[in-house]
């Protein structure tokens, strides 16, 4: 026996289990990233690849009368030319709403929509071939705003959707009229939000390899959801999914841009098959902007009833979202705008009407804080305005509406843990709110707001009956453990987190682990990285897989040490008979464990318990989650009244994410998330003229640079989420929504006016200041006349 000899039962020589969780852990793939070795889709070796290129529509709404590709096909060096004829299967992330084609069929619905594509031996030939494609269009009226598209008599973008309304939501929970009647103050306001974009720094790209001998296809792409890409490509190409392999290389950010199969991914596959070879389809930054899928332009009308105490008695909200040309996640987005009204504060009664509208703009989709961000701004802003009427402080009105978890909302969402009260306490104290609020010099202001988000949707987008997440752990003779997951690490650090969870359970150093993420030939299917589902759902699966492995190792140790399994404790690098100094090293336990079975693979799964899957009403699938994360933020700004320029001086954010498995990564996620909220609040917006995007680059679509980005202080508030792995819940979306309203409140203090929407761009701030001055002049003139 190779038992480790030891001097004393608690002395030297006895290994202690490693605590990989809770540590400030640099990313397990960080070295690749800082050395430039990390290969993103565009970096993959593909010397033989043909160049793909897309012909896009020069009209925002038009019938395609004819397409002639004969001259393009005849050009030497061109290996494939395809059009809408080559794929007649509509796609879309929601099985109930599929109305997009990789290449337009019959009609184009937005400027830049793909109409044809070529694969050629080099870029020059590909571009020349595009010029040779002749398309005849008959233009149709262009609807850029939701109002235009909904106007009576408007041409329908999709024949089955009258009024161009993709989905109308009508939900009432609790007695709204009674709540309004019981209020001491009822106020209604309207808000307008510009459309924003993800603007991840990596442009879109797909590499598709078709092997004519085997008829198999391998696709590598920039996806957050390789499984959905796999599924959609098989469907659109009418291939057996078993003949398709999807691999996720390094991904340069996502934020929701890549949470559904995107048209160019299917096009690349179609081109590869048509050319019977490998095609690289690299999109430009402008094309990447046109793929879009981000937060829609939104109009909100909101009415709140409030008691003098600040307690909210009822909410009545109406939301119109300009959804763009196809369905995508639209139904989910419009439902989230209503569902996320519920679980931040106690809401006794809520009426919600939502309209998701088709327009001749690029399709919108989910963006960090999916569906809830604009509504959160409206809600927090109106709450502040009403609190002012009662002379209530912004903290007081929020505290007046807190619930104590566990809590069930009127729309049947179950919140197991919520530390929002502690979050508020921390930001109040850290920002010096009590001594500074209201006493700042002119042009300066402080604002506070809260927000929250789900830790994964309890109901997956595609209901298959399978578990929500599966993780495999593979242990071989060398003692190293490979964690296999379909979850896509897109920079958020999910691979690191999953390895930490498994390492924690087994008491081992992270160095013993490798993670393979997102290769359909190797890794178990996973729904992907969206709705902040990975930490909790895939984390729970990793935990279960590690526990199973540990059970097998404990059994092997027990056999070897000739005791019962209950007598064995796992110390990571050794297994010991409890209370003795008899033990066996990890390496030898591995040997024993593998003796009979050979290399071991364990499986862990996670399924959301049925009682957390929500109610039975229409739309009830959107909102339920095993856990909700909470954040409170204070923003300090100064405003230059001459230029309308806002300077954000500092952000304080308190985050309740349960136990932080990797506090370093949590801080990074929270900083990135609130900063993104700041960008939306300050300057980000898309713009279209006759359907043509005016801001399809990173200069006109302004994201904050390092110069205008403030210090961000993050506090991780201690809590423990019983439904999460090792007590954890999500950490990267919940904080975003708090920033736009907190920033707007700070600006309101600084300049004495509240703007009715976002962004608070200098031109809008100036216009508001002018209006204020006009009003002041009018008032003093009236006073003088009296």
């Amino acid at each position: 026996m190779n038992e480790i000899a030891s001097c004393a039962s608690h002395g030297e020589g006895i290994p202690a289990p490693t605590h990989a969780a809770g540590r400030r852990q640099p990313l397990i793939d960080g070295i690749e990233k800082v050395t430039g070795r990390a290969r993103y889709t565009t970096d993959l070796p593909a010397t033989q690849a043909l160049t793909g290129a897309i012909l896009s529509s020069p009209h925002a709404h038009a019938e395609i009368v004819s397409i002639d590709v004969s001259r393009a096909r005849a050009l030497p060096g061109v290996r494939a030319v395809i059009t809408g004829e080559d794929c007649d299967v509509p796609f879309g992330i929601l099985p109930i709403a599929r109305n997009e084609y990789p290449l337009a069929r019959g009609k184009v619905l937005y400027w830049g929509e793909a109409v044809a594509a070529v694969a050629a031996e080099d870029e020059q030939t590909a571009r020349a071939a595009l010029d040779l494609i002749e398309v005849e269009y008959r233009t149709l009226p262009v609807y850029i705003s939701a109002a235009e598209a909904r106007a009576p008599g408007a041409v329908l973008l999709h024949a089955n959707k009258p009024g161009n309304v993709e989905r109308e939501v009508n939900n009432t929970f609790g007695d709204v009229d009674a709540g309004i009647a019981a209020a001491d103050l009822v106020r209604e306001e309207s808000f307008h939000y510009a459309e924003v974009a993800h603007a991840q720094i990596e442009p879109d790209c797909t590499l598709a390899e078709f092997d004519p001998e085997s008829g198999r296809l391998t696709v590598q792409s920039v996806s957050q959801v390789p499984y959905y890409v796999h599924l959609t490509i098989s469907e659109c190409l009418k291939m057996d999914p078993a003949d398709v392999r999807v691999i996720k290389p390094f991904i340069g950010g996502g934020f929701g841009h890549r949470t559904e199969t995107l048209p160019f991914e299917i096009t690349a596959a179609l081109l590869a098959r048509a050319a019977r070879g490998t095609v690289k389809l690299q999109l430009s930054r402008a094309e990447t902007f046109t793929i879009h899928r981000a937060r829609p332009e939104t109009d909100i009308r909101l009415k709140i009833g409030m008691k003098k105490s600040g307690e909210i008695t009822a909410v009545d909200a109406e939301v119109v979202q300009r959804g763009g040309a196809s369905a995508g996640y639209g139904i989910i987005t419009i439902l989230y705008a209503g569902a996320l009204l519920h679980t931040l504060y106690r809401m006794p009664a809520v009426r919600y009407r939502g309209f998701r509208v088709y327009t001749n703009t690029p399709p919108c989709g989910p963006m960090r804080g999916h569906g809830g961000v604009d509504m959160r701004h409206a809600f927090e802003s109106l709450m502040d305005m009403m609190a002012e009427t009662f002379g209530l402080d912004a903290f007081a009105v929020r505290r007046a509406n807190l619930f104590v978890a566990p809590y069930q909302s009127v729309n049947e969402l179950k919140v197991s843990t919520c530390e929002l009260a502690a979050c508020l306490d921390w930001v109040e104290q850290a920002s010096g709110w009590r001594s500074r609020k209201g006493k700042l010099p002119r042009g300066r202001g402080l604002g506070v707001a809260c927000s929250h988000f789900i830790s994964g949707a309890a109901k997956p987008v595609h209901w298959t009956g399978e578990p929500h997440a599966t993780v495999n752990l593979r242990l071989d003779f060398d003692g190293s453990i490979t964690l296999l997951t379909g979850a896509a690490d897109i920079g958020q650090g999910s691979s690191t987190l999953l390895a930490q969870i498994a390492a924690e359970v087994l008491g081992l150093e992270l160095a013993r682990f490798r993670v393979i993420a997102g290769d359909s030939a190797l890794t178990p299917k996973d729904n992907g990285s969206y709705s902040s589902r990975v930490s909790l759902m895939v984390g729970n699966a990793a935990l279960a897989a590690a526990e199973d492995l540990k059970r097998q190792l404990v059994a092997a140790a027990a056999k070897r040490l000739e005791v019962g399994v209950e007598d064995i404790e796992c110390l990571g690098e050794a297994y010991r008979v409890i209370g003795t100094d008899r033990m066996v090293s990890y390496r030898d336990v591995v040997k024993s464990a593998l003796e009979v079975t050979g290399p071991l693979t364990t499986r862990g799964t996670y399924t959301v318990p049925l009682d957390m899957q929500g109610g039975k009403y229409r739309g009830a699938g959107v909102g339920p989650s095993p856990a909700y994360s909470y954040a409170a933020s204070v923003v300090e700004v100064s405003v230059d009244e001459d230029t309308g320029q806002i300077k954000v001086e500092k952000l304080w954010v308190a985050q309740d994410c349960g136990v932080a498995i990797n506090p370093l990564a949590v801080e990074g996620q929270v900083q990135g998330s609130v900063w993104m909220g700041m960008g939306q609040a300050l300057c980000e917006e898309t713009e279209f003229v006759n359907g043509r995007p005016l801001r399809g680059n990173l200069l006109d679509y302004r994201v904050p640079t390092i110069v205008e980005s403030p210090p961000i202080e993050v506090k991780i508030v201690a809590s423990y989420e019983p439904n999460g792995p090792l007590g954890a819940k999500e950490a990267s979306e919940s904080s975003l929504g708090s920033i736009p309203p907190a920033l707007a409140a700070a600006v309101a203090e600084a300049i004495g006016v509240r703007l009715p929407g976002l962004p608070l761009s200098p031109d809008r701030v100036l216009a508001a200041l002018h209006a204020r001055r006009r009003e002041e002049r009018l008032k003093s003139a009236l006073a003088g006349a009296r």
């Binding site: 990233k33 290969r39 993103y40 970096d43 340069g252 930054r285 801080e667 680059n697 990173l698």
Partner: protein
């Protein structure tokens, strides 16, 4: 038209026939096969392609390869000398100055240029030096911390 260009790439001499209009970005990534330098935009918008030319930070997407005749070009791949990470690389790794990593090579190269010029930069110096490099993941906080920590090491 093609011409012969001779230059030093990460300290090694090279001679290549390049077309007059070949961008340094494509030269580095395709001709030399060093894909660490990234392309994030359609030209001059993002800073992801930042490399050093004779020690100065330059956008490889706005520079012609032919213009680098006789010059010393440095990319992210040249930073880990003798297999040891540079102080900036080490620090970006340890302090999570990188999340998705796509902006990282450009960030590190722009920071490297700064530190060579000014080994003790103030926070304002760091912000100024990185003002042309966009990052969509980090909010820049840990990037600034990474640069500061690299100066201390």
């Amino acid at each position: 038209m093609k011409r012969l260009v001779s230059l030093w790439l990460n300290g090694r001499h090279r001679e290549d026939a390049v077309s007059d209009n070949l961008l340094l970005l494509d030269y580095v990534r395709e001709t030399a096969g060093l894909t660490g330098t990234k392309c994030g935009c359609d030209g001059g918008e993002c800073g992801a392609c930042t490399v050093l030319i004779d020690g100065e930070p330059r956008l490889a997407c706005l520079t012609l390869a032919a213009a680098c005749e006789g010059k010393r070009v440095e990319t992210i791949e040249g930073q880990a000398a003798g297999g040891k990470l540079s102080p900036l690389q080490q620090s970006f790794h340890e302090n999570l100055g990188t999340q998705c990593g796509y902006c990282t090579p450009g960030m590190i190269m722009a920071s490297e240029a700064l530190l060579r010029r000014n080994p003790r930069p103030s926070e304002a110096d760091i912000r100024e030096a990185l003002s042309g490099n966009l990052c969509r993941c980090t909010g820049y906080v840990k990037i600034i911390e990474s640069v500061k920590a690299a100066c201390e090491s």
